[in-house]
C-alpha cells in the first residue's frame, strides 16, 4: 500500500519524566513530567523564558538534560543521539539549507542515510514529489529557499522534517515569523495535515489563540514548570492556578477575604460565596462573566475608560480604596452608555478564588 506509506506514519507515544535542565546556573526546567499520547497534537504554551522551547529541544536530543528521562514508546531516548532519535524538527526560522534546492532540502534526510537503508534515487525523487504535493507546493522542486515566500519556506521545512518518517514531529514557534494572515491560513492547514498524517506532534507557541484553536491538549508552562495540561476548554474555563487564569484570556483579580463562606473585598461583602475555611485569597474573573448590580452587596468602582472590543464593550473600573489601587475590567452590554467618571456596580457570576498559602 504505497499511499499509506507516505501518508500515514506509525505514531509514537512520548513520555517525559522528571526532566530538569540547568543553563549556567539558571534553571530552565524543573522536574517536568508529561505524557504525550500517540497521534496527538499538543501545544507547549507559555511566555518567553518559560522553558517551552527547551523542553522541545530536550525531546529532540538537541539539549542534554541534567536529570530525568525521555521515553519514545518504551525506548529510553537518552541513550540516543539526536541523529538516532528520528524526530522531525521544524525550526523557528525554518533553517532551510540555502544552497540546496527545495527537492535537495527535502531529500537530505534520506540521502545521508547509510547505504544499506538509503532508498534508491528514483524512490527518493518520487517521495520528494509526493511530499511537495502533500504540502501543496507541487512543481517547486528546483527553486531555492531564497526564492520562496515565508509560508512556502515553512511548508518546505515541514516536508523536509516529515520525509524521514519521524517518530515525533516537533515544531518550534512554527508560525512565529509569518504575518498574521498567512499565520491563520497555515494554522488551519497544519491541523488538517496532522489529521491526515497522524504524527505525534508537539509545537511550541507563545500565542494562546494559536494553541487553543489548534491543539488537542495545551501544556501551559511558566518559569520552567508545567502549570496545567488540558484541553482548550480545561485551561480556559477551569484554570488551576492564578498564572493560568491571568495568562489565558482576559481577566481581572482582586485580593479578597473569606469569612463564614462570604467573600469580602475591603471588608465589605460583594454578594458571592465561597465554601471552605476563613482566610485570604485572590478572586479571579473574566470581563464577560459579570452582571451589573445596582444595589445590595456588590463591587463598585469609578469608570476610568471604556473601549469597544469586537462584540462587547469593556469598562475599566477603578475600585481603589484607602491607598491600595485596584483596577478591573468588566464587560457591559453594548447599549449601555458608560460615562467616564460615573459609578458602576457589578458582581461576578463565574469566578475562581485561589487561597493564599
Amino acid at each position: 500500500m504505497p499511499v499509506a506509506d507516505t501518508e500515514r506514519s506509525s505514531p509514537m507515544e512520548v513520555t517525559v519524566s522528571g526532566i530538569s535542565k540547568q543553563f549556567d546556573r539558571y534553571p530552565a526546567l524543573k522536574d517536568v513530567s508529561l505524557k504525550i499520547n500517540s497521534g496527538e497534537l499538543i501545544a507547549l504554551l507559555g511566555p518567553s523564558g518559560s522553558g517551552k522551547t527547551t523542553l522541545l529541544r530536550l525531546i529532540a536530543g538537541l539539549e542534554q538534560p541534567n536529570g530525568g528521562q525521555i521515553l519514545f514508546g518504551d525506548e529510553d531516548a537518552s541513550q540516543k543521539t539526536v541523529q538516532e532519535r528520528n524526530v522531525g524538527f521544524v525550526f523557528q526560522h525554518y533553517a532551510l539549507f540555502k544552497h540546496m534546492t527545495v527537492a535537495e532540502n527535502i531529500a537530505f534526510g534520506l540521502k545521508v542515510r547509510p547505504a544499506e537503508s538509503r532508498p534508491p534515487k528514483a524512490e527518493i525523487r518520487k517521495r520528494v514529489s509526493d511530499l511537495l504535493d502533500m504540502v501543496h507546493l507541487p512543481g517547486l522542486e528546483k527553486r531555492y529557499p531564497n526564492q520562496l515566500s515565508g509560508g512556502q519556506r515553512q511548508r518546505v521545512a515541514l516536508a523536509r522534517a516529515v520525509a524521514i518518517e519521524p517518530k515525533v514531529l516537533l515544531l518550534d514557534e512554527p508560525f512565529g515569523a509569518l504575518d498574521a494572515k498567512v499565520r491563520k491560513e497555515l494554522r488551519r492547514w497544519l491541523r488538517e495535515f496532522h489529521d491526515r498524517t497522524g504524527h505525534t506532534t508537539v509545537f511550541v507557541t507563545h500565542d494562546q489563540e494559536e494553541a487553543l484553536e489548534l491543539a488537542d491538549r495545551v501544556v501551559v508552562m511558566s518559569q520552567g514548570r508545567i502549570e496545567q495540561v488540558g484541553s482548550a476548554d480545561d485551561v480556559y474555563d477551569r484554570p488551576n492556578s492564578p498564572f493560568v487564569f491571568s495568562f489565558i484570556g482576559e481577566s481581572s483579580h482582586l485580593p479578597v477575604r473569606i469569612e463564614n463562606g462570604a467573600v469580602l473585598f475591603q471588608g465589605q461583602p460583594i454578594g458571592i460565596s465561597e465554601p471552605g475555611p476563613d482566610g485570604e485569597g485572590m478572586l479571579f474573573f473574566r470581563p464577560q462573566d459579570v452582571v451589573e448590580v445596582n444595589d445590595g452587596p456588590r463591587l463598585t468602582g469609578k469608570v476610568t475608560a471604556s473601549r469597544r472590543l469586537a462584540g462587547a464593550r469593556i469598562a475599566e473600573l477603578d475600585i481603589s480604596d484607602e491607598g491600595a489601587a485596584h483596577h478591573v475590567e468588566i464587560g457591559v452590554p453594548l447599549e449601555t452608555r458608560v460615562e467616564i467618571g460615573g459609578e458602576l456596580g457589578f458582581r461576578p457570576v463565574h469566578w475562581k478564588i485561589f487561597r493564599n498559602t
Binding site: 529532540a60 536530543g61 538537541l62 539526536v82 541523529q83 532519535r85 528520528n86 524526530v87 522531525g88 524538527f89 525550526f91 523557528q92 526560522h93 533553517a95 532551510l96 539549507f97 540555502k98 544552497h99 540546496m100 537530505f108 534526510g109 545521508v112 542515510r113 531555492y144 529557499p145 531564497n146 523536509r160 522534517a161 520525509a163 524521514i164
Partner: protein, 285 residues
C-alpha cells in the same frame, strides 16, 4: 554639476536634502581621473600605439609566456593551499575558544601590514639551504628557496588573509539551527560539514580564492628575493616588467603589463559575477 533632480523621466540622481553632492562627487571624479584613470589610460594608449602585430609578437615571446605561466601557476597553487588552510583557520577562529584566540585572530592580518620586502627577505632567510627551515629540508632533497616552490611559499604568506577574512564573516553568520536541522535529519557531523556547511560557504571560499590569486599574480616584493629569478624557471611576470624597463625596452614592459591588466580585470569581473550569482540564488554572497 548640473542638478537634474526636477526633470521628469530618466533621472540620474534622486533628490536629497543633504548638501555637497556636486562638491564631493566632483572632487571624487577629478581625483580618480587624475590619479588613476589618466595614468592607466596612458599605459593603454601607449600600448595600443604599438599596433597589434608588434604587441602580439612581444606577448608571445617565450620568456614572457614562461614568466606569465610561472606567475599564474604559482599564484594558483598558493591560492589553493590558502583556500584549504584559510578555511581551517577561519573555522578555528570562529568556532573554538582557546587561549590566545584573539591574538591569533589579529595575527592573521600580518601579511596586510608587513611590508612585502620585509616578508620577502625573512622568508628567503628561513627557506634558504642554511636557513631555519631550509636546513631541515635540504637533507631530504627538498629545495624551496630559489625555486618556483619558494614563490608559492611567498604567495601563501601574502594571500592567506584574503581567504580568512572573506570566509570568516560568512562563517560567523551560519545559523546554528541549520546544523541542528541537519542533525535531526540524521546527518552525522562529517556529513553536516561536508554536505551542508562547506557547500554553503563555497561562494565565499571562491571569492577568497580569487582575491588571493589576483593578488598573487601581481605580487612582486615578497617574491623576488626568494624566487631566484632564473629566466624560464622562476622569473615572475612583474619582475620581467622591471627587467624590460631597466633595459629601456618599454614596449616589451608595456606588453607584459597589458596582458596582466587584462587578466586581472577579467578576474575582478569574475569575482563580481560570483558574488552577484550567489546573492541572487542563495540570498547571500
Amino acid at each position: 554639476m548640473a542638478n537634474t533632480s526636477f526633470a521628469t523621466g530618466w533621472k540620474w540622481r534622486q533628490a536629497s536634502v543633504i548638501p555637497g553632492f556636486g562638491l564631493s562627487l566632483g572632487y571624487t571624479l577629478s581625483y580618480l581621473v587624475l590619479i588613476i584613470l589618466i595614468p592607466l589610460a596612458g599605459l593603454v594608449w601607449h600600448t595600443a600605439s604599438l599596433g597589434l602585430p608588434e604587441l602580439a609578437s612581444l606577448a608571445t615571446d617565450s620568456r614572457t609566456l614562461n614568466a606569465l605561466r610561472i606567475s599564474f601557476g604559482t599564484a594558483m597553487a598558493a591560492a589553493f593551499v590558502n583556500a584549504v588552510f584559510g578555511v581551517i583557520v577561519a573555522w578555528v577562529l570562529v568556532r573554538y575558544d582557546f587561549p590566545g584566540r584573539r591574538f591569533v585572530d589579529a595575527a592573521v592580518d600580518l601579511p596586510f601590514a608587513l611590508p612585502t620586502a620585509v616578508a620577502g627577505i625573512a622568508l628567503t632567510t628561513l627557506y634558504a639551504p642554511k636557513g631555519w627551515i631550509g636546513a631541515w629540508l635540504t637533507p631530504l632533497g627538498i629545495k624551496i628557496a630559489y625555486t618556483p616552490l619558494g614563490i608559492v611559499i611567498a604567495l601563501i604568506f601574502i594571500g592567506l588573509p584574503f581567504v580568512v577574512r572573506t570566509v570568516q564573516p560568512v562563517m560567523e553568520e551560519i545559523d546554528r539551527q541549520v546544523e541542528e536541522a541537519a542533525a535531526t535529519l540524521g546527518a552525522n557531523r562529517f556529513q553536516t560539514i561536508f554536505r551542508v556547511l562547506l557547500p554553503g560557504l563555497f561562494p565565499a571560499i571562491l571569492t577568497g580564492f580569487a582575491l588571493a590569486f589576483a593578488r598573487g599574480v601581481g605580487e612582486y616584493g615578497s617574491v623576488i628575493f626568494i624566487a631566484g629569478n632564473i629566466p624560464y624557471v622562476s622569473e615572475i611576470a612583474p619582475l620581467l616588467i622591471v627587467i624590460r624597463l631597466e633595459e629601456f625596452n618599454y614596449p616589451a614592459a608595456m606588453a607584459v603589463a597589458t596582458i596582466m591588466l587584462v587578466i586581472s580585470f577579467i578576474m575582478l569581473f569574475i569575482i563580481n559575477l560570483i558574488q552577484a550569482w550567489s546573492r541572487k540564488r542563495y540570498g547571500y554572497a
